[in-house]
Symmetry: C2
Subunit: 333 residues, 2 copies
């Protein structure tokens, strides 16, 4: 367990070190774009996606992450992280978010125009990194990647639509998060497996693993808004205050009696809930079993993710993926 | 000549007809994204880029644009047009432009968030269309395309920087327009040539052709702001009123005496020039030969573009490219 944690940090450091190199230096480039771009590339984060890609690659290729061994997958890992950062920069504009990971967002520190352009450049840099990957399956990999990008845009479209709707159902919500965040996680695992020369059943197993941990991660995120501790990056109860549709809200809506329903509808309508009322909403979530139901759902998807891994032959990477899935469930922040 | 005009319209109609098909229909997609996306795809325009790509393909492959014959290049042509439309949508946000091609821009008709997302989706749709292209050189084609996208972003970065600078030189300006608009034109011709299985010297000739007509087109655009007639889409003198750096302004700046210089510096500073002063500025342009110099520059690049074509074997497509280059020079709108 402790070993895995150390190994995770090693992978993460490797990504951090190389991530800056996806952008060109030099005089011939506009400073107004390069400075905020480097700000984004150095803003950290868990680097969970690129690590997952490297592990999927390792799990099917049998290559271990020694010096140079993972180079065949490293560019793809950087591409996935660049695309993820693109979504953060553009989403933050659309959500009018002042900060992320404890730092000002790009559009807050500079302006919206800069953030639009930085996001656009990140997409291009992601494709460039991915195109450096040497694989006979490059077209298929690019198609999967592009399909993932399309789904991210569609998911974001639904997310923005839902802000103005009071009748969003749990099913619609689950579909939205699958498009907006889930798909790119399964794409990540699938690309790692394809690069590693995975057989059809291996690629499929890793894609499904990605689907389940993506879903678990998102619902755990919703859960932590209610149950998380201070280490959790965002303000606890923030989703409730902002009227964000979450698994807990939509689950509670399905069962709530009229009196409680009225309160939940107020949250749904996006009419900002006062901080003091957050506790009331949390109690309603508990009362109708929404918190428990979210926990069950997270556990179900983590278990399913781990079960799917049994289709792969035993390897250190496979065991580490198993461990990572468990970590998601236990994270408090 | 008249034949070429008719043929151009045939190509254009073909693009118009197929362009809508790059986006998926169906229930599973957010209306808030699909409606503005279709609005963009149906907004017309000259479709010059996709037509150039088809002609480059035809010129080297010897295939003529009969039924189905150009299918090998059509998806790439649609990809180029989609990417072009992406730049228009995002640039219009950054420039706060209320209208384009006589219609409201996306961010005016809907809002900025919608326009950001529509632009992002267009990039993804462009890659998806390009990936449908069957070619053994697909990786090279995608690399060139991606490099073009990076250059567009960098060019836009410089363009925005220049708005706040009063000391932009003509050389810097030429470099900026090469990145922002020129490169994508040469990329267009290069991709057409690669898809058509062009030999190295053919690909190189068409790339250079693209470079020269791209440059000619941009300077002609600057010229038409001063000399154009009403059919020209944008308001005549608009560049001067808005303090946009143009070939004429920067050329006149190099030669102007102190008195005139002060007036030009006012334009440079972006301190909006009153409509009645536009005539004064135009006179200064004439006085220092900036208008003539722009005409000479356009003619030089058109001639060079046409000369480069002589490296290709004679074909109807080659002759039509020759004709198109001449059209650029003569256009009044």
């Amino acid at each position: 367990m402790r070993d895995f944690r150390l190994q995770y940090l090693q992978y993460k450091r490797r990504i951090d070190r190389r991530f800056q190199s996806i952008v060109d230096e030099g005089d011939g480039r506009p400073r107004s774009l390069m400075v905020p771009l480097k700000y984004v590339l150095s803003s950290g984060g868990k680097r969970i996606r690129p690590v997952l890609l490297l592990l999927a690659y390792e799990a099917v290729s049998g290559k271990r992450g020694g010096a140079g061994k993972l180079d065949g997958a490293l560019n793809a890992a950087l591409a996935i992280e660049a695309l993820h950062n693109f979504t953060l920069v553009h989403d933050d504009i659309m959500d009018d978010a002042p900060s992320r990971r404890g730092r000002e967002t790009v559009h807050s520190k500079w302006d919206k125009n800069t953030a639009i352009l930085v996001g656009d450049e990140l997409v291009a840099l992601a494709y460039r990194a991915l195109l450096k990957t040497k694989s006979p399956r490059i077209r298929e990999i690019l198609q999967i990647f592009t399909d993932g990008l399309l789904k991210v845009c569609e998911g974001q479209g639904f997310d923005k639509e839902f802000e103005h709707r009071r009748d969003v159902t749990l099913d619609e919500y689950l579909r939205m998060i699958e498009l907006k965040t889930g798909r790119m996680v399964s794409v990540t695992l699938e690309i790692g497996a394809l690069l590693g020369g995975g057989k059809r059943f291996e690629v499929s197993a890793l894609r499904r693993f990605g689907y389940h941990i993506g879903r678990a991660f998102q619902i755990q995120d919703d859960l932590l808004d209610v149950t998380g501790d201070k280490r959790f990056g965002k303000k606890i109860g923030g989703d409730i205050v902002e009227g964000k549709k979450t698994f807990l809200l939509l689950q509670a809506m399905r069962k709530a009696e009229q009196k409680d329903r009225t309160i939940l509808e107020q949250v749904m309508s996006g009419g900002r809930v006062a901080s003091k009322d957050v506790r009331t909403v949390k109690k309603i979530y508990e009362k109708y079993g929404a918190v428990k139901s979210a926990r069950v759902e997270v556990r179900k998807h983590v278990t399913e993710a781990q079960r799917v891994l049994e289709n792969l032959r035993q390897s250190r990477a496979r065991d580490m993926l198993h461990w990572l899935a468990g970590m998601l469930q236990d994270r408090r922040s």
